[in-house]
Assembly symmetry: C2
Homo-oligomer: 201 residues x 2
């Protein structure tokens, strides 16, 4: 079995959401498992000296347009959250508890539901009640979810993931890494697909 694809992503990142809806198909096409690795993009952007896209006047306007256009192209529902920029610290902590309890399948289910709630339903994904409801829908007990939101161990797992992301050269999201080869952004997924098909070039 070849190595898994590392899918580094941020729960509050539109491009991560859009890529998350495509990455499993890419992995499946090439017999690769995909490991979802949420990290704190605020911290990586700050470490890199970059602001979130939406904070730049032209780049931000373009990014919003690009996300909507990419979503339409692939038939994915997408609505820019308003307000945008909610904290994902609690969601990430619960995601890592989901992984501890139910492995990658439970982490993926929870993260997919959080992103769908945020980028389709405009849900308050910084609200622990909302997150707990989503976690219960994924099979994580409500108490386990709620207590994870500020559990030092889960917060430390999030912090470790974020440090590891930085160490692996990740600053923005999503960044997909396979066999040491990194592909940044939703807009390089086609190239990742081709890379796996050809075994590189």
């Amino acid at each position: 079995m070849p190595d898994a694809i590392d899918f580094w992503f941020a729960l509050g990142s539109p491009a991560s959401y859009l890529a998350s809806l495509r990455i499993e198909d890419v992995g499946a096409r090439h017999g690769r498992a995909v490991r979802w690795r949420p990290f704190n993009i605020r911290q990586t952007l700050e470490a890199e000296g970059v602001k979130p896209n939406v904070m730049y006047p032209r780049k931000g306007a373009y990014a919003r347009h690009d996300w909507e256009r990419a979503a339409r192209l692939h038939g994915h529902p997408f609505r820019m959250p308003d307000p945008f920029g909610r904290s994902t610290v609690a969601a990430m902590a619960i995601a890592y508890r989901a992984e501890t309890v139910g492995g990658q399948p439970m982490l993926k289910a929870f993260c997919a539901d959080v992103m769908a709630a945020y980028f389709v339903e405009n849900a308050a994904i910084d609200d622990v009640d909302v997150l707990t409801g989503l976690a219960e829908g994924c099979g994580l007990g409500g108490d386990l979810a709620r207590s994870a939101a500020d559990d030092p161990e889960m917060l430390e797992m999030s912090a470790t993931a974020t440090r590891t992301a930085l160490d692996e050269g990740v600053w923005g999201a999503p960044m997909t890494i396979v066999d040491g080869e990194a592909f940044w952004g939703e807009d390089r997924i086609d190239q990742l697909d081709l890379w796996l098909e050809r075994g590189g070039w």
Copy 2:
């Protein structure tokens, strides 16, 4: 005849060079002329509050890798210039004189040669002697080329192009705009191609 594609680009930008090698094919496939519009990316990045990619530690390392990989994918020669970041003020001024004298065909020929010289041969494209030689090869007289490098009228044409780029929402390069629809980066050329094929989505 449908409207032309505006290809906003910067002579010192690796992604612009790579895109310039693909954009004419895209235009030709869809019966669209391509208008090459060089601008001063240093000024647009500064206006936007963004640094050149290579100045960020992780983003810069990734960008270099991505450019080399994209070049290999499309069979385009590419070598990262060293030193990188030469001024393109003189080259832009000569490019606009080339357009004044020989229209878009001469501007394109000159710009293509400047970028090939920089991104394949590592030429000193901030050297007026080098630029004059390239211009002569494109049919622009040596005196017309040399005198353009610091001609206030040509420098003003460059400045106007740069202001227009900013007004049209351009900050980085390349940015391709067709029928009011903008596509940023070498990595969105496939989507531009599809957009023209489908007439949008």
